[in-house]
């Protein structure tokens, strides 16, 4: 059993929103890449919704993370080591926070390039496939995006905080829920361009909700084995967890097929994923 002898890091809304939006940004980029390069005719429009969403979100992510540092003007110390005699890049492969900082920077670059390309193609009213070199950018950006969506959970797992450190599955839980929220966000924002892609997005969301449910069950099992399951269900948090589980039902029902996508389901999914992040982050500290 883990020994906990650390004070809570006092991570509140800035970090909660950062973890939430990073999941949507990374997930949106990945789904946009799948829609663009593996989707059907007409999916390019939805792909551009995903790329157009990812960059503004990652800008907000950077702002939230910087503000949470307490001394925002020193944010660059996360990347540059100014220690006399050891000055250079601040890259610590064993630290998820250090890796995440670099991932955020890299993803900002990829998402910016894809954002500009989408804007330019939209301006030209050109719904043809983008140039071939975009595929390299999109695939590399997707890999970094998946890391961005998942490392936020790994950061929690490697801490010494009860609940967080009692489970190794939080990274997996965050990447599954990030993809689910991203599918919901693209479906909702792209609903005016509804087509066959929207129906397939709702099916994809069903798969992601199923993966999130599996990760959630493993999360509860690992907490139970560590004896800290009660901690995450105390106070108001049991109600949050019930709402989180209930929010998985509408996207799961999409898997049964034959049902027209509802405009309400993406909202339910987005709220449910936010509540899950709140329950994980706050219940371990307060």
């Amino acid at each position: 059993m883990a020994e906990h002898f650390a004070q809570p890091p006092n991570w509140q809304w800035y970090i909660t929103l950062y973890f939430y939006l990073a999941g949507i940004a990374g997930g949106s980029y990945v789904l946009a890449t799948i829609l663009r390069w593996r989707g059907g005719a007409g999916d390019e429009r939805l792909a551009r919704v995903g790329y157009t969403l990812a960059f503004p979100l990652v800008v907000v992510c950077g702002a939230l993370l910087t503000i949470d540092l307490g001394q925002p003007m020193r944010f660059w110390h996360m990347m540059i080591d100014t220690t006399p005699g050891a000055a250079g890049l601040n890259f610590k492969y064993w630290s998820p926070i250090s890796l995440g900082t670099w991932a955020l920077l890299l993803f900002s670059l990829f998402s910016f390039l894809s954002f500009v390309m989408s804007w330019k193609l939209n301006r030209d009213q050109n719904y043809a496939q983008p140039p071939g070199y975009a595929k390299v950018i999109n695939v590399l950006g997707s890999i970094v995006g998946l890391f961005l969506a998942s490392y936020t959970g790994v950061v929690l797992s490697v801490s010494n905080q009860p609940v967080w450190s009692d489970s190794w599955v939080i990274g997996a839980l965050f990447v599954a829920s990030g993809l689910s929220a991203a599918a919901a966000a693209i479906a909702w924002l792209g609903r005016s361009q509804a087509g066959p892609g929207e129906a397939r997005l709702s099916v994809a969301d069903g798969y992601f909700a199923l993966l999130e449910l599996v990760a959630l069950i493993v999360f509860f099992i690992t907490l139970s084995m560590a004896g800290t399951l009660g901690l995450t269900f105390r106070g108001i948090y049991w109600l949050l967890w019930i709402l989180v589980v209930l929010s998985l039902i509408p996207p799961l029902r999409n898997l049964s097929g034959g049902r027209a996508p509802s405009a309400l389901v993406p909202i339910v999914v987005l709220v449910g994923v936010l509540l899950m992040r709140i329950a994980v982050i706050f219940s371990a500290q307060y």
Partner: protein, 56 residues
């Protein structure tokens, strides 16, 4: 005052960042991401009819 070692705590010389779930956390996230991408491609990939009609 007692030393930290007396209570099984690390001291200033041997304290390290917690890394209990570092590898397990990344491995679990990697597999979930791989399954997620597979599921995404399966759900969002072009229907067969798109492939056959697209090339004229």
């Amino acid at each position: 005052m007692d030393n930290p070692e007396r209570y099984g705590f690390p001291n200033a010389q041997n304290a390290v960042l917690p890394r209990r779930n570092n590898v397990k956390g990344y491995v679990a996230a990697f597999f979930m991401a791989a399954i997620g991408v597979f599921a995404g491609v399966k759900a969002l990939g072009a229907p067969v009819s798109d492939d056959t009609t697209g090339e004229g």
